[in-house]
Symmetry: C2
Subunit: 305 residues, 2 copies
């Protein structure tokens, strides 16, 4: 799957992933109103609205981008109807040829991590059948529990030819509270990064491993160090745009082959129509606004090469 | 909710939580066969079987125990039908007066953590209505992302009078890979423990905070230190029984008031009927076997006081 991701990136010339993180406040009013008219002020209406909103964005951007990253929390907040919208979104994006990175940040131990891995990347055995619960291509994984938490994901990835991105250094302001703590003079995120490189060494697709890392765009100096520690690791970079990361900040995340990183933007794309810059599209043009925002992001990022 | 948990513990004289972690291999054959007969070898059948299995255990044990801890991964592996079984289980346990600790180990940043918190502990606004997606009493939270990840949960807990347990030192063999790393001579889990005490100070129910901690039974020496660092923190203790923790190991987790800790057992209770000790119950007596296992666990733990 890491090879398909790289292929898609080369084809689109866009190391970009669109974060499908549909806050209800982002959904144009006419879409939500229609759903509420049909199903009342219910979780079902919210799920339906989110799905229709997503579909518009996917249709308008899928030829320009290699991958999407739905953030499951934004669906889970609407209970089961929300999770149904998540599944529809994942399945639809895959139909469109996009690589789907499930931003689930799961992490547990042993059989519990296996259950998450099976549920999101693999197949669960029921009688004589093997069935998919959800079916993302990659998921994000939290490393706090150590190898016991990560290895079950790797096992499923090997079997299913899928991949993971392990949180190393996150983009948020307080990420340093624990991640930057010094251990023999070196921050924890470097130790985690080394571990990711180690886990990934046995999991090579071609030039890159299918055990990737998450490193926030908001800490480019740390990105530079982590790039060196994990030379064959694909880096998923959140924090561009709305969180403050700029194109110039992104350069250290890429290798000399122009590969090795994929940059996420969520709000900046899916909620572009609310920015002054794209105001002319209006609410009903939210999908076209997101298309233009992708083009602008692509141009912005290409300026660093 | 921390006060209700303590009340329930006092009433049952059992600082015990039953982990409802239904691997399909634990479900008696006759239950799974019935579900498959009705719905084929499908995710729906797995969800139905898991729910019936859980219901038997809940009915057989609910008068003896203060709380349950369903592990969402074990439901998520069956996709949406599995998550439906999770929700049914949560709702049913609450009807029975049990405190429900959703073992979800979520953790993200800002609005994303808010979405998880709202989805599992709070209410989401849809038009003029506030609706619950899931509705656990407590959830477990991963601290790797720092305060940005935890505070949104605390905010929702304040509003809804609910609570969280933050992972501090997990019970698994590799938990030390990152958690034990020394920072100025002190392990990371102590730094996290201090932070939990700090987060919890503003969140007191009565004598205890509704910001709790997870500390594995398999590391009693560390439990002793963490008990001192977090005197007003309720500690959720996994790792008893199947993972190797004994009653003697548990003593340091409790305060002198006999409170301050609640011990989880999953397999040891819900899969008791597969142990030689409870073999006489047979498969059809799996629920009664789990009842006897709760009584035995209660007696075992009471020996330390």
């Amino acid at each position: 799957m890491i090879n398909k991701l790289i292929e898609n990136i080369k084809k689109t010339e866009a190391p970009i992933v669109v974060g499908l993180d549909p806050m209800l406040g982002y959904v144009p009013k006419y879409i939500l109103d229609k759903a509420v008219k049909e199903q009342g002020e219910t979780l079902e209406a919210a799920g339906a609205a989110v799905w229709e909103y997503n579909k518009g964005i996917i249709d308008a951007t899928c030829d320009l981008i290699p991958a999407v990253k739905p953030q499951i929390a934004m669906y889970e907040q609407f209970g089961i109807p929300g999770i149904e919208a998540f599944k529809k979104t994942v399945d639809y994006c895959k139909e469109k040829g996009l690589v789907v990175i499930g931003d689930i940040k799961r992490g547990d131990i042993g059989s519990t991590s296996t259950a998450y891995a099976v549920g999101h990347l693999g197949k669960v055995q029921i009688g004589s059948k093997k069935l998919s619960g959800f079916d993302e291509d990659f998921v994000t994984v939290n490393p706090y529990l150590g190898s016991d938490g990560v290895n079950p994901f790797i096992d499923v990835c090997k079997e299913e030819k899928k991949g993971i991105f392990v949180l190393v250094k996150t983009s948020n302001p307080s990420s340093g509270e624990f991640q930057d703590k010094k251990i023999n003079g070196r921050p924890l995120y470097e130790i985690v990064g080394e571990k990711v490189a180690e886990w990934g060494a046995g999991c090579m697709g071609g030039s890159y491993s299918y055990v990737g890392a998450v490193v926030g765009a908001t800490y480019p100096e740390m990105g530079k160090v982590l790039r060196k520690i994990m030379p064959k690791t694909y880096i998923l970079v959140p924090g561009y745009g709305a969180q403050g990361g700029t194109a110039a900040d992104l350069k250290p995340y890429f290798n000399e082959d122009g590969l090795g990183a994929i940059v996420n933007s969520s709000r900046g794309i899916i909620c572009a129509y609310k920015q002054e810059k794209y105001a002319q599209y209006g609410e009903s043009g939210y999908a076209e606004a997101s298309r233009q925002a992708v083009i602008d992001m692509k141009n912005d990022i290409s300026s660093i090469f």
